[in-house]
């Protein structure tokens, strides 16, 4: 299982990296954290001519939280997010991000693997696509031809496929201020054996504009449970009263998006959404407080 023959290019700047990409195109793959890339090389799932090593480009390490936005450079690791220093008055979703990052794989993988790299890997069972779909993030792609900003919907084309062109480098992912400040959030990830990809993964967000129940780890890419989310927006009251209807609505949404789901799988995914929802549900007499899991 050794790495197949491959050349390494070590550009000294982002501009140089873009030049290399422009020349090599689909013969090259970006090497950032390498935690998803190297296993694919070892199992000969891919066999590129060259790796463009961006892992030492300091300008890609930026992590900005000012101006009410969160902007992560291409080399920000899962661990950087897990360990984001607490700041007074930080947006409510920062803690959601910390928790999300802390549950990815294992610590040594988190130490090296990058958020953007993982996102561009676009594994349907991966963690970051779900998060950034839910937070309506934008990804910045750069090439010698210019700069593009894509939403997750525009970026992810299918399992392990993105619309990132062969000469483009994803340099950052950004979440806007409003999306970063939900009134409440819940996160539930069901894993059978530690560090595995999720059996079920759900994020629930509550904004002024309504509730959003997002599901990942199934189908081609994460999606929102439209009926279930709408039902939450309409009806106030106690969760247990709504539970049966919500669960049915969730299972309906799930089946519509992923028709091949078995009854057991649909049930479990719906239950996982309920578990996330419980964390975000307003507690008695604490309606205005930001609630999170």
């Amino acid at each position: 299982m050794k790495i197949p023959p491959v050349e390494i290019r070590s550009p000294q700047s982002v501009e140089q990296a873009l030049s290399v990409l422009a020349r090599l195109g689909s013969d090259a793959r970006i090497l950032a954290g390498g935690q998803s890339l190297l296993p694919m090389l070892r199992y000969r799932v891919i066999n590129p001519y060259a790796l463009v090593d961006i892992s030492r480009l300091k300008e890609l390490r930026s992590l900005q939280t000012e101006g009410g936005r969160l902007s992560l450079g291409a080399l920000v690791t899962h661990r950087d997010i897990e360990q984001l220093p607490t700041q007074e008055g930080e947006p409510s979703a920062i803690d959601l991000l910390r928790r999300h990052a802390a549950e990815i794989a294992f610590r040594p993988i988190r130490n090296r693997g990058t958020v953007v790299g993982s996102l561009l890997h676009a594994d349907p069972k991966g963690d970051w696509p779900l998060m950034f779909f839910a937070l309506a993030a934008q990804v910045e792609l750069r090439s010698l031809r210019g700069i593009r900003h894509l939403s997750l919907h525009e970026l992810i084309a299918g399992p392990l496929q993105t619309k990132c062109a062969v000469d483009e480098l994803a340099v950052s992912v950004t979440v806007s201020g409003e999306r970063l400040s939900p009134l409440a959030w819940g996160r539930s990830k069901l894993v059978h054996r530690a560090g595995e990809y999720a059996m079920c993964s759900a994020i629930v967000l509550r904004y002024e504009s309504g509730w959003e129940c997002w599901v990942g780890a199934l189908g081609d890419c994460p999606f929102m449970l439209k009926t279930a989310s709408a039902m939450l927006g309409d009806a106030p009251g106690e969760l247990p009263d709504m539970e049966t209807k919500l669960r049915e609505a969730a299972m309906q949404d799930l089946r519509m998006n992923v028709p091949e789901l078995t009854a057991v799988e649909a049930y479990r995914h719906a239950q996982n959404v309920m578990d996330a929802l419980c964390q975000a549900w307003p507690r008695q007499g604490a309606e205005s407080e930001i609630q999170h899991g």
């Binding site: 070590s10 390498g34 935690q35 070892r42 090593d53 294992f106 610590r107 040594p108 130490n111 560090g195």
Partner: protein
């Protein structure tokens, strides 16, 4: 830099850090799976516990790498003694990777309880011990209230 010594990085582009370290004589770096799950290849890169089987050697040209061979400070010695007292190893193949991971966790200097240790050590497979000795060894050393150490400065 490997274990405190400047070493020329003589390797092929395709070589991983694990292969190069082993080629240089750091035989404690073990290959258990070569796809990042078992942790037997853990090393410290610039103080951070990393899978050396999932890092290309060329990416480490400017880095300071420490393997089990280079962990000799007071914390490392106390951890060794705790491993022996608690029967934290049997065949020894996972041990270097377990040790490096444990060292990183302990170096942070935070208080640790059993659940946290088990969570943080889930990235190391041990097929022999059932983990209890490893967990107990780490908890023992943590209880000695180590002050967090600057890992880079302790490279010898």
């Amino acid at each position: 830099m490997v274990n405190g010594l400047d070493v020329p990085l003589a390797c092929d582009d395709r070589d991983t850090l694990a292969d190069v370290l082993r080629g240089q004589g750091a035989k404690s770096v073990h290959l258990g799976c070569e796809h990042g799950v078992c942790g037997a290849c853990n090393v410290l890169i610039d103080g951070v516990c990393t899978r050396s089987c999932l890092v290309m050697a060329r990416s480490c040209a400017d880095s300071a790498v420490i393997t089990l061979e280079g962990l000799k400070d007071d914390l490392a010695q106390r951890l060794r003694q705790a491993f022996t007292r608690n029967h934290a190893l049997q065949c020894g193949y996972c041990t270097p990777g377990v040790f490096v991971a444990a060292y990183e966790i302990l170096s942070a200097g935070k208080e640790l309880d059993e659940q946290t240790v088990r969570t943080q050590m889930a990235g190391n497979i041990c097929r022999c011990t059932g983990y209890q000795g490893i967990v107990d060894a780490i908890l023992e050393v943590a209880a000695e209230r180590t002050v967090g150490m600057d890992i880079q400065e302790t490279a010898i």
